[in-house]
Symmetry: C2
Subunit: 211 residues, 2 copies
DNA sequence: GACGGATTTCGAATGCCGTTCGAAACCGGT
DNA sequence: ACCGGTTTCGAACGGCATTCGAAATCCGTC
Protein backbone atom coordinates (compact mmCIF):
# COMPACT_ATOMS: atom_id res chain seq x y z
CA UNK A 1 0.00 0.00 0.00
CA UNK A 2 2.02 2.88 -1.37
CA UNK A 3 5.02 1.89 0.68
CA UNK A 4 8.33 3.67 0.09
CA UNK A 5 10.35 0.99 1.79
CA UNK A 6 9.67 -1.14 -1.24
CA UNK A 7 12.54 -2.25 -3.44
CA UNK A 8 11.43 -0.40 -6.55
CA UNK A 9 10.63 2.66 -4.44
CA UNK A 10 14.28 2.59 -3.35
CA UNK A 11 15.41 2.12 -6.94
CA UNK A 12 13.26 5.08 -7.96
CA UNK A 13 14.85 7.29 -5.32
CA UNK A 14 18.35 6.24 -6.34
CA UNK A 15 17.58 6.81 -10.00
CA UNK A 16 16.07 10.19 -9.24
CA UNK A 17 19.08 11.22 -7.17
CA UNK A 18 21.50 10.09 -9.85
CA UNK A 19 19.56 11.82 -12.62
CA UNK A 20 19.35 15.04 -10.61
CA UNK A 21 23.11 15.00 -10.14
CA UNK A 22 23.78 14.54 -13.84
CA UNK A 23 21.02 16.92 -14.93
CA UNK A 24 22.15 20.26 -16.16
CA UNK A 25 18.66 21.64 -15.59
CA UNK A 26 15.53 20.51 -13.84
CA UNK A 27 13.74 20.02 -17.13
CA UNK A 28 16.11 17.12 -17.83
CA UNK A 29 14.38 15.17 -15.07
CA UNK A 30 11.28 13.41 -16.39
CA UNK A 31 9.18 10.64 -14.93
CA UNK A 32 9.96 8.47 -17.95
CA UNK A 33 13.71 8.85 -17.57
CA UNK A 34 13.55 8.11 -13.86
CA UNK A 35 11.45 5.03 -14.60
CA UNK A 36 13.84 3.75 -17.24
CA UNK A 37 16.87 4.21 -15.00
CA UNK A 38 15.07 2.35 -12.20
CA UNK A 39 13.82 -0.40 -14.52
CA UNK A 40 10.23 0.55 -13.80
CA UNK A 41 7.38 2.50 -15.41
CA UNK A 42 6.31 6.12 -14.82
CA UNK A 43 3.19 5.01 -13.02
CA UNK A 44 5.35 3.43 -10.35
CA UNK A 45 6.32 6.96 -9.26
CA UNK A 46 2.73 8.00 -8.74
CA UNK A 47 1.99 4.74 -7.02
CA UNK A 48 4.84 4.85 -4.51
CA UNK A 49 5.22 8.57 -3.92
CA UNK A 50 2.01 10.18 -5.11
CA UNK A 51 3.76 12.39 -7.63
CA UNK A 52 7.13 13.16 -9.15
CA UNK A 53 7.38 16.24 -6.93
CA UNK A 54 7.03 14.15 -3.82
CA UNK A 55 9.65 11.74 -5.05
CA UNK A 56 12.10 14.59 -5.50
CA UNK A 57 11.17 15.91 -2.05
CA UNK A 58 11.86 12.52 -0.52
CA UNK A 59 15.24 12.35 -2.25
CA UNK A 60 16.11 15.89 -1.20
CA UNK A 61 15.21 15.13 2.40
CA UNK A 62 17.56 12.16 2.34
CA UNK A 63 20.40 14.28 0.97
CA UNK A 64 19.70 17.08 3.45
CA UNK A 65 20.05 14.64 6.29
CA UNK A 66 23.52 13.68 5.10
CA UNK A 67 24.60 17.31 4.72
CA UNK A 68 23.26 18.31 8.11
CA UNK A 69 24.93 15.38 9.80
CA UNK A 70 28.23 16.65 8.42
CA UNK A 71 27.49 20.17 9.59
CA UNK A 72 26.62 19.09 13.11
CA UNK A 73 29.64 16.81 13.30
CA UNK A 74 31.92 19.75 12.45
CA UNK A 75 30.14 21.92 14.99
CA UNK A 76 30.62 19.32 17.70
CA UNK A 77 34.27 19.03 16.81
CA UNK A 78 34.69 22.80 17.07
CA UNK A 79 32.97 22.86 20.44
CA UNK A 80 34.89 19.93 21.87
CA UNK A 81 38.24 21.32 20.84
CA UNK A 82 37.84 24.38 23.10
CA UNK A 83 35.52 23.09 25.82
CA UNK A 84 34.78 24.35 28.37
CA UNK A 85 35.80 27.62 26.73
CA UNK A 86 33.56 28.97 23.94
CA UNK A 87 34.48 27.55 20.51
CA UNK A 88 36.48 29.47 17.94
CA UNK A 89 34.20 31.75 15.90
CA UNK A 90 35.92 31.07 12.60
CA UNK A 91 35.62 27.35 13.15
CA UNK A 92 31.90 27.58 13.94
CA UNK A 93 31.25 29.59 10.79
CA UNK A 94 33.25 27.09 8.76
CA UNK A 95 31.10 24.31 10.22
CA UNK A 96 27.98 26.19 9.16
CA UNK A 97 28.91 26.97 5.58
CA UNK A 98 31.79 24.61 4.87
CA UNK A 99 29.88 21.43 4.02
CA UNK A 100 27.67 23.25 1.51
CA UNK A 101 30.70 24.79 -0.14
CA UNK A 102 32.62 21.54 -0.30
CA UNK A 103 29.66 19.59 -1.59
CA UNK A 104 28.86 22.17 -4.23
CA UNK A 105 32.42 21.91 -5.54
CA UNK A 106 32.66 18.12 -5.33
CA UNK A 107 31.42 16.64 -8.62
CA UNK A 108 30.77 13.29 -6.93
CA UNK A 109 28.49 14.78 -4.26
CA UNK A 110 24.71 14.99 -4.43
CA UNK A 111 24.64 18.74 -3.95
CA UNK A 112 22.81 19.35 -7.25
CA UNK A 113 19.82 17.56 -5.73
CA UNK A 114 19.45 20.36 -3.21
CA UNK A 115 19.71 23.23 -5.64
CA UNK A 116 17.32 21.54 -8.05
CA UNK A 117 14.96 20.89 -5.18
CA UNK A 118 14.78 24.49 -4.04
CA UNK A 119 14.23 25.68 -7.57
CA UNK A 120 11.49 23.08 -7.98
CA UNK A 121 9.85 24.32 -4.79
CA UNK A 122 9.75 27.78 -6.33
CA UNK A 123 8.39 26.56 -9.65
CA UNK A 124 5.51 24.77 -7.96
CA UNK A 125 3.46 26.13 -5.06
CA UNK A 126 5.93 26.44 -2.22
CA UNK A 127 3.27 26.21 0.44
CA UNK A 128 2.64 22.54 -0.28
CA UNK A 129 3.22 20.55 2.93
CA UNK A 130 5.90 18.29 1.47
CA UNK A 131 7.95 21.39 0.67
CA UNK A 132 7.43 23.30 3.90
CA UNK A 133 8.33 20.26 5.94
CA UNK A 134 11.80 20.28 4.40
CA UNK A 135 12.39 23.99 3.84
CA UNK A 136 11.20 25.12 7.25
CA UNK A 137 13.24 22.50 9.04
CA UNK A 138 15.94 24.58 10.67
CA UNK A 139 16.75 22.33 13.62
CA UNK A 140 20.31 21.96 12.38
CA UNK A 141 20.66 25.72 12.14
CA UNK A 142 19.23 26.28 15.58
CA UNK A 143 21.93 24.03 16.97
CA UNK A 144 24.42 26.80 16.21
CA UNK A 145 22.58 29.45 18.24
CA UNK A 146 23.67 28.59 21.79
CA UNK A 147 27.33 28.33 20.81
CA UNK A 148 27.29 31.59 18.89
CA UNK A 149 25.63 33.17 21.89
CA UNK A 150 28.52 32.14 24.09
CA UNK A 151 30.89 33.76 21.60
CA UNK A 152 28.84 36.96 21.33
CA UNK A 153 26.88 37.20 24.59
CA UNK A 154 25.84 40.78 23.86
CA UNK A 155 23.57 39.55 21.03
CA UNK A 156 20.14 38.13 21.80
CA UNK A 157 18.53 35.11 20.12
CA UNK A 158 16.90 37.20 17.42
CA UNK A 159 20.20 38.90 16.55
CA UNK A 160 21.93 35.55 16.33
CA UNK A 161 19.17 34.04 14.21
CA UNK A 162 19.24 37.02 11.88
CA UNK A 163 23.00 36.76 11.41
CA UNK A 164 22.72 33.02 10.89
CA UNK A 165 20.15 33.67 8.20
CA UNK A 166 22.44 36.23 6.57
CA UNK A 167 25.33 33.78 6.59
CA UNK A 168 23.14 31.24 4.83
CA UNK A 169 22.23 33.83 2.24
CA UNK A 170 25.90 34.46 1.51
CA UNK A 171 26.43 30.71 1.25
CA UNK A 172 23.57 30.39 -1.26
CA UNK A 173 24.83 33.26 -3.34
CA UNK A 174 28.26 31.66 -3.68
CA UNK A 175 27.05 28.12 -4.33
CA UNK A 176 24.08 28.95 -6.53
CA UNK A 177 24.95 32.18 -8.37
CA UNK A 178 28.44 31.26 -9.36
CA UNK A 179 28.59 33.24 -12.58
CA UNK A 180 27.56 36.43 -10.80
CA UNK A 181 30.12 35.82 -8.11
CA UNK A 182 32.77 35.33 -10.77
CA UNK A 183 31.94 38.52 -12.58
CA UNK A 184 31.75 40.67 -9.46
CA UNK A 185 35.12 39.41 -8.22
CA UNK A 186 36.75 39.89 -11.62
CA UNK A 187 37.52 36.17 -11.87
CA UNK A 188 40.32 36.84 -9.38
CA UNK A 189 39.24 34.37 -6.70
CA UNK A 190 39.74 30.65 -7.29
CA UNK A 191 36.14 29.61 -6.69
CA UNK A 192 37.04 25.95 -7.23
CA UNK A 193 39.16 25.79 -4.09
CA UNK A 194 36.81 25.20 -1.15
CA UNK A 195 39.39 26.31 1.43
CA UNK A 196 39.86 29.67 -0.25
CA UNK A 197 36.12 30.20 -0.61
CA UNK A 198 35.42 29.22 3.00
CA UNK A 199 38.18 31.52 4.26
CA UNK A 200 36.70 34.36 2.24
CA UNK A 201 33.28 33.70 3.69
CA UNK A 202 34.57 33.56 7.25
CA UNK A 203 36.36 36.86 6.63
CA UNK A 204 33.01 38.46 5.85
CA UNK A 205 30.71 36.69 8.29
CA UNK A 206 32.89 36.81 11.42
CA UNK A 207 32.66 40.62 11.79
CA UNK A 208 28.88 40.25 12.17
CA UNK A 209 29.51 38.56 15.49
CA UNK A 210 32.13 40.99 16.79
CA UNK A 211 31.55 44.22 18.65
CA UNK B 1 9.13 40.38 -39.11
CA UNK B 2 9.21 39.12 -35.56
CA UNK B 3 9.21 42.66 -34.23
CA UNK B 4 8.72 43.25 -30.54
CA UNK B 5 7.73 46.87 -30.96
CA UNK B 6 4.47 45.59 -32.35
CA UNK B 7 1.23 46.33 -30.52
CA UNK B 8 0.38 42.73 -29.70
CA UNK B 9 3.99 42.11 -28.68
CA UNK B 10 3.55 44.90 -26.14
CA UNK B 11 0.25 43.45 -25.01
CA UNK B 12 1.91 40.06 -24.61
CA UNK B 13 4.63 41.55 -22.42
CA UNK B 14 2.10 43.39 -20.29
CA UNK B 15 -0.04 40.28 -19.93
CA UNK B 16 3.00 38.21 -19.05
CA UNK B 17 4.14 40.73 -16.44
CA UNK B 18 0.68 40.93 -14.92
CA UNK B 19 0.26 37.16 -14.83
CA UNK B 20 3.70 36.71 -13.26
CA UNK B 21 2.79 39.17 -10.53
CA UNK B 22 -0.47 37.42 -9.73
CA UNK B 23 0.98 33.93 -10.13
CA UNK B 24 1.61 32.06 -6.95
CA UNK B 25 4.00 29.75 -8.79
CA UNK B 26 5.69 29.69 -12.15
CA UNK B 27 3.55 26.78 -13.28
CA UNK B 28 0.57 29.15 -13.26
CA UNK B 29 2.09 30.95 -16.23
CA UNK B 30 1.13 29.23 -19.49
CA UNK B 31 1.32 30.40 -23.06
CA UNK B 32 -2.40 29.93 -23.43
CA UNK B 33 -3.19 32.10 -20.41
CA UNK B 34 -0.83 34.84 -21.54
CA UNK B 35 -2.45 34.77 -24.97
CA UNK B 36 -5.97 35.05 -23.55
CA UNK B 37 -5.03 37.97 -21.32
CA UNK B 38 -3.41 39.71 -24.29
CA UNK B 39 -6.34 38.93 -26.62
CA UNK B 40 -4.05 36.90 -28.85
CA UNK B 41 -3.16 33.27 -29.54
CA UNK B 42 -0.28 31.20 -28.14
CA UNK B 43 1.45 31.18 -31.50
CA UNK B 44 1.81 34.94 -31.26
CA UNK B 45 4.34 34.36 -28.47
CA UNK B 46 6.52 32.17 -30.64
CA UNK B 47 6.13 34.55 -33.53
CA UNK B 48 7.13 37.71 -31.69
CA UNK B 49 9.60 36.40 -29.13
CA UNK B 50 10.73 32.99 -30.36
CA UNK B 51 9.58 31.20 -27.23
CA UNK B 52 7.78 31.70 -23.96
CA UNK B 53 11.11 31.70 -22.14
CA UNK B 54 12.34 34.62 -24.21
CA UNK B 55 9.12 36.52 -23.59
CA UNK B 56 9.63 36.15 -19.85
CA UNK B 57 13.27 37.19 -20.26
CA UNK B 58 12.22 40.32 -22.14
CA UNK B 59 9.72 41.17 -19.41
CA UNK B 60 12.27 40.53 -16.68
CA UNK B 61 14.81 42.75 -18.41
CA UNK B 62 12.27 45.55 -18.52
CA UNK B 63 11.54 45.20 -14.80
CA UNK B 64 15.24 44.98 -13.96
CA UNK B 65 15.82 48.26 -15.72
CA UNK B 66 13.25 49.96 -13.52
CA UNK B 67 14.72 48.47 -10.33
CA UNK B 68 18.27 49.38 -11.26
CA UNK B 69 17.31 52.92 -12.15
CA UNK B 70 15.92 53.29 -8.63
CA UNK B 71 19.10 51.81 -7.14
CA UNK B 72 21.39 54.12 -9.07
CA UNK B 73 19.25 57.14 -8.28
CA UNK B 74 19.56 56.41 -4.56
CA UNK B 75 23.31 55.91 -4.94
CA UNK B 76 23.65 59.24 -6.68
CA UNK B 77 21.65 60.91 -3.96
CA UNK B 78 23.90 59.38 -1.29
CA UNK B 79 27.02 60.53 -3.13
CA UNK B 80 25.77 64.05 -3.78
CA UNK B 81 24.71 64.60 -0.19
CA UNK B 82 28.30 64.25 1.07
CA UNK B 83 30.35 65.30 -1.95
CA UNK B 84 33.23 65.90 -2.12
CA UNK B 85 33.55 63.75 1.01
CA UNK B 86 32.97 59.99 0.63
CA UNK B 87 29.28 59.06 0.99
CA UNK B 88 27.81 57.58 4.16
CA UNK B 89 28.34 53.80 4.23
CA UNK B 90 24.91 53.02 5.64
CA UNK B 91 23.28 55.09 2.93
CA UNK B 92 25.21 53.35 0.17
CA UNK B 93 24.21 49.93 1.49
CA UNK B 94 20.59 51.07 1.73
CA UNK B 95 20.79 52.18 -1.90
CA UNK B 96 22.09 48.73 -2.87
CA UNK B 97 19.54 46.58 -1.08
CA UNK B 98 16.73 49.02 -0.31
CA UNK B 99 14.87 48.96 -3.63
CA UNK B 100 14.77 45.15 -3.70
CA UNK B 101 13.42 45.06 -0.16
CA UNK B 102 10.81 47.72 -0.77
CA UNK B 103 9.67 46.17 -4.04
CA UNK B 104 9.44 42.71 -2.56
CA UNK B 105 7.16 44.03 0.17
CA UNK B 106 5.04 46.21 -2.09
CA UNK B 107 2.15 44.13 -3.43
CA UNK B 108 1.68 46.53 -6.34
CA UNK B 109 5.28 46.19 -7.56
CA UNK B 110 6.51 43.81 -10.23
CA UNK B 111 9.06 42.16 -7.98
CA UNK B 112 7.54 38.68 -8.43
CA UNK B 113 8.64 38.87 -12.06
CA UNK B 114 12.25 38.88 -10.97
CA UNK B 115 12.02 35.98 -8.55
CA UNK B 116 10.03 33.93 -11.05
CA UNK B 117 12.57 34.76 -13.70
CA UNK B 118 15.56 33.57 -11.73
CA UNK B 119 13.80 30.37 -10.80
CA UNK B 120 12.92 29.85 -14.46
CA UNK B 121 16.54 30.37 -15.41
CA UNK B 122 17.45 27.58 -13.00
CA UNK B 123 14.72 25.25 -14.26
CA UNK B 124 15.91 25.60 -17.85
CA UNK B 125 19.52 25.59 -18.98
CA UNK B 126 20.97 28.70 -17.41
CA UNK B 127 23.70 29.06 -19.97
CA UNK B 128 21.25 30.07 -22.70
CA UNK B 129 22.30 33.46 -24.04
CA UNK B 130 19.03 35.22 -23.26
CA UNK B 131 19.54 34.30 -19.60
CA UNK B 132 23.22 35.10 -19.31
CA UNK B 133 22.69 38.50 -20.88
CA UNK B 134 20.41 39.45 -18.00
CA UNK B 135 21.93 37.52 -15.11
CA UNK B 136 25.52 38.46 -15.84
CA UNK B 137 24.67 42.10 -16.28
CA UNK B 138 26.20 43.62 -13.19
CA UNK B 139 26.86 47.12 -14.49
CA UNK B 140 24.55 48.56 -11.86
CA UNK B 141 26.43 46.69 -9.15
CA UNK B 142 29.80 47.77 -10.44
CA UNK B 143 28.67 51.38 -10.09
CA UNK B 144 28.89 50.89 -6.33
CA UNK B 145 32.52 49.78 -6.35
CA UNK B 146 34.35 53.13 -6.66
CA UNK B 147 32.26 54.74 -3.92
CA UNK B 148 32.73 51.83 -1.55
CA UNK B 149 36.41 51.99 -2.30
CA UNK B 150 36.54 55.58 -1.15
CA UNK B 151 34.85 54.53 2.07
CA UNK B 152 37.16 51.55 2.62
CA UNK B 153 40.38 52.38 0.77
CA UNK B 154 42.22 49.49 2.41
CA UNK B 155 40.13 47.00 0.38
CA UNK B 156 40.99 46.23 -3.25
CA UNK B 157 38.51 45.78 -6.08
CA UNK B 158 38.22 42.04 -5.52
CA UNK B 159 37.49 42.51 -1.81
CA UNK B 160 34.84 45.09 -2.62
CA UNK B 161 33.26 42.91 -5.32
CA UNK B 162 33.22 39.94 -2.97
CA UNK B 163 31.49 41.94 -0.24
CA UNK B 164 29.04 43.35 -2.75
CA UNK B 165 28.22 39.82 -3.81
CA UNK B 166 27.74 38.77 -0.18
CA UNK B 167 25.42 41.70 0.42
CA UNK B 168 23.34 40.62 -2.56
CA UNK B 169 23.19 37.12 -1.14
CA UNK B 170 21.81 38.44 2.13
CA UNK B 171 19.29 40.49 0.18
CA UNK B 172 18.13 37.41 -1.76
CA UNK B 173 17.82 35.33 1.38
CA UNK B 174 15.54 37.91 2.97
CA UNK B 175 13.40 38.60 -0.09
CA UNK B 176 13.19 35.06 -1.42
CA UNK B 177 13.39 32.76 1.61
CA UNK B 178 10.98 34.59 3.80
CA UNK B 179 9.65 31.61 5.71
CA UNK B 180 13.17 30.53 6.70
CA UNK B 181 14.01 34.03 7.79
CA UNK B 182 10.86 34.12 9.89
CA UNK B 183 11.60 30.85 11.62
CA UNK B 184 15.25 31.64 12.33
CA UNK B 185 14.36 35.02 13.85
CA UNK B 186 11.55 33.53 15.94
CA UNK B 187 8.97 35.72 14.17
CA UNK B 188 10.33 38.57 16.31
CA UNK B 189 11.25 40.94 13.47
CA UNK B 190 8.51 42.72 11.55
CA UNK B 191 9.54 41.57 8.07
CA UNK B 192 6.72 43.59 6.50
CA UNK B 193 8.30 46.91 7.47
CA UNK B 194 10.93 47.75 4.84
CA UNK B 195 12.67 50.32 7.05
CA UNK B 196 13.19 47.79 9.84
CA UNK B 197 14.46 45.14 7.43
CA UNK B 198 16.81 47.55 5.67
CA UNK B 199 18.19 48.77 9.00
CA UNK B 200 18.79 45.17 10.04
CA UNK B 201 20.60 44.47 6.82
CA UNK B 202 22.77 47.57 7.10
CA UNK B 203 23.64 46.54 10.64
CA UNK B 204 25.06 43.29 9.31
CA UNK B 205 26.61 44.42 6.03
CA UNK B 206 28.33 47.60 7.22
CA UNK B 207 30.88 45.78 9.42
CA UNK B 208 32.16 44.03 6.29
CA UNK B 209 33.48 47.37 5.12
CA UNK B 210 34.99 48.47 8.43
CA UNK B 211 38.42 47.70 9.77
C1' DG C 1 1.32 -27.62 -2.99
C1' DA C 2 -2.77 -25.01 -4.27
C1' DC C 3 -5.84 -21.24 -3.18
C1' DG C 4 -7.28 -16.24 -2.52
C1' DG C 5 -6.90 -11.59 -1.00
C1' DA C 6 -3.81 -7.88 -0.80
C1' DT C 7 -0.05 -5.60 -3.01
C1' DT C 8 2.52 -4.25 -6.84
C1' DT C 9 3.35 -3.66 -11.86
C1' DC C 10 1.94 -2.53 -16.26
C1' DG C 11 0.16 -0.21 -20.51
C1' DA C 12 -3.26 2.40 -22.65
C1' DA C 13 -5.71 6.60 -22.30
C1' DT C 14 -6.42 11.55 -20.66
C1' DG C 15 -5.62 16.24 -20.62
C1' DC C 16 -2.32 19.53 -20.27
C1' DC C 17 1.84 21.87 -22.13
C1' DG C 18 4.94 24.78 -25.75
C1' DT C 19 5.77 24.96 -30.35
C1' DT C 20 5.24 24.45 -35.55
C1' DC C 21 3.23 25.33 -39.86
C1' DG C 22 0.30 26.40 -43.70
C1' DA C 23 -3.51 29.04 -44.73
C1' DA C 24 -6.17 33.14 -43.98
C1' DA C 25 -6.34 37.99 -42.96
C1' DC C 26 -4.55 42.35 -42.89
C1' DC C 27 -1.79 46.25 -44.33
C1' DG C 28 0.20 50.14 -47.18
C1' DG C 29 1.83 51.55 -51.55
C1' DT C 30 0.97 51.52 -56.48
C1' DA D 1 -8.27 46.85 -57.29
C1' DC D 2 -4.22 44.58 -56.84
C1' DC D 3 -0.11 42.72 -54.48
C1' DG D 4 4.10 41.60 -51.45
C1' DG D 5 5.19 41.69 -46.88
C1' DT D 6 3.62 41.28 -42.29
C1' DT D 7 0.81 39.51 -38.87
C1' DT D 8 -2.86 36.43 -36.99
C1' DC D 9 -5.05 32.25 -36.59
C1' DG D 10 -6.31 27.32 -35.79
C1' DA D 11 -5.24 22.70 -36.30
C1' DA D 12 -1.80 19.48 -35.51
C1' DC D 13 2.48 17.38 -33.16
C1' DG D 14 5.23 15.39 -29.73
C1' DG D 15 6.12 15.34 -24.90
C1' DC D 16 4.79 15.67 -20.30
C1' DA D 17 2.71 13.81 -15.50
C1' DT D 18 -0.84 11.36 -13.99
C1' DT D 19 -5.00 8.07 -13.80
C1' DC D 20 -7.10 3.72 -13.96
C1' DG D 21 -8.47 -0.95 -14.83
C1' DA D 22 -6.47 -5.16 -15.81
C1' DA D 23 -2.67 -8.30 -15.29
C1' DA D 24 0.79 -10.19 -12.41
C1' DT D 25 3.06 -11.17 -8.28
C1' DC D 26 3.47 -12.15 -3.44
C1' DC D 27 2.44 -14.47 0.83
C1' DG D 28 -0.18 -16.35 4.73
C1' DT D 29 -3.54 -20.02 5.08
C1' DC D 30 -5.86 -24.09 4.06
Amino acid sequence: MHGRTNLTAMRLMDACEHLLCEAEALEDLTARRIAIEAHATPSAISYHFGSQEELVAAVAERVYRRLNAERLSLLRKAVDRRAPEPPDLDEVIAALVGPSIRWSLDPTSSYPVLSHFTSMAKTHRERAPHYRRIIDNVQHHRAFVPHLKRIAPWLDDVDIGWRLNCALGIRSQVTRSRSRTEVLTNYSIDLDDPDIVIARMVEVIAPMFRR
